[in-house]
């Protein structure tokens, strides 16, 4: 568990996982924005994808463009086994941090 993913990295990686075959920059951005319920800069998503690719968590391939983007190529991403492991690790760490706190929160809020 050498490299725990940050919250934004997790959101991006989960968007790639969720979108499956349709995971390209703009679609990932929309997914992240709707899940986080806030405006996100496209550059932040691109930078994160680049970083995740360097870490070997995702791979990318260049696909066809569409008319709305003047035919410019889309870069499609895919989560690799290392990325799935990193997500599992992040979730495991978070679960450990939260373990036993639920009861305390309930007691404090009532």
């Amino acid at each position: 568990m050498a490299d725990i993913l940050g919250a934004f990295e997790q959101a991006v990686l989960l968007a790639v996982l969720r979108l499956d075959e349709d995971a390209y920059g703009r679609a990932i951005l929309r997914d992240v924005q709707s899940r986080l319920e806030r405006d996100v800069a496209p550059g932040a998503v691109h930078a994160t994808l680049e970083r995740l690719e360097q870490k070997g968590f995702v791979t990318s391939r260049v696909g066809g463009g569409t008319a709305i983007r003047d035919g410019r190529a889309r870069r499609f991403y895919r989560v690799e086994p290392a990325g799935v492991r990193a997500l599992d690790d992040a979730r495991y760490s978070l679960d450990r941090v939260w373990r036993g706190v639920g009861r305390l929160l309930k007691a404090r809020s009532s």
């Binding site: 703009r26 800069a41 496209p42 550059g43 983007r69 410019r72």
Partner: protein
């Protein structure tokens, strides 16, 4: 090149593509164009969508080169405070170090994108942003600094030798700052273009040679 009715300004697209790595320029600029047409143009109108696009281009620049700009600003602040308070030791190191930092930023631009234009753009943009900071800094600090400077023999002697008859120290130092702002615009323009050209050419060639040898 004429602007399409539903496209961002041509120059902003050119700047964006020049800033991005060669292998990602098409897909990332395509994502931005799609967002511009699909979401921001209908929601914000032409001006609002253009402003949004411009901010995205600035974000791409900041995410890649913020370190160099921060270094330049730190160098300038140290150099200006040193100058105002007359800690003479490192007064002449500032400009040389600044040119080296601009050169390093341009080298990174050429290396990252494999394009000379990116290095040139990086050199010019870092200088422009530094100049904006310098102008704001001088206009904000000239008065508090002048309160210290008017007790320093170095500044008193400079005032006596170049002030007009009857000109107060405060008036003289204000116009000295205005002059410095204008002169620094010229000096930074030249430094940005020269360092940008050299850095862009060297960086892009070095990256191409590196990739060729690695293949």
């Amino acid at each position: 090149m004429k602007r399409n009715a539903a496209s961002p300004p041509v120059w902003t697209e050119w700047v964006l593509v020049a800033l991005l790595p060669e292998d990602r320029a098409e897909s990332e600029s395509g994502d931005l164009l799609e967002a511009y047409r699909d979401e921001h143009l209908p929601a914000r109108g032409r001006l609002g969508a253009d402003w949004w696009y411009l901010r995205q281009v600035a974000f791409v620049f900041a995410r890649s080169y913020w370190f160099w700009l921060a270094a330049l600003i730190a160098l300038f602040v140290i150099s200006d405070v040193t100058n105002a308070y007359q800690f003479a030791a490192s007064r002449n190191v500032g400009p040389i170090a600044a040119v080296l930092v601009i050169l390093a930023a341009s080298l990174q631009g050429g290396w990252r994108s494999r394009r000379m234009s990116s290095g040139l753009l990086t050199g010019i943009a870092t200088c422009m942003l530094l100049w904006l900071f310098m102008a704001a800094w001088w206009m904000t600090t000239w008065y508090p600094f002048s309160l210290v400077q008017q007790g320093e023999p170095y500044w008193i002697s400079a005032w006596h030798s170049s002030a007009a008859p009857g000109e107060t120290f405060t008036h003289w130092i204000f116009w000295d700052n205005v002059g410095a702002t204008i002169m620094s615009a010229l000096a930074l323009s030249m430094s940005g273009v020269l360092a940008g050209l050299i850095g862009g050419v060297v960086g892009s060639i070095a990256r191409r040679l590196y990739l060729r040898s690695a293949a």
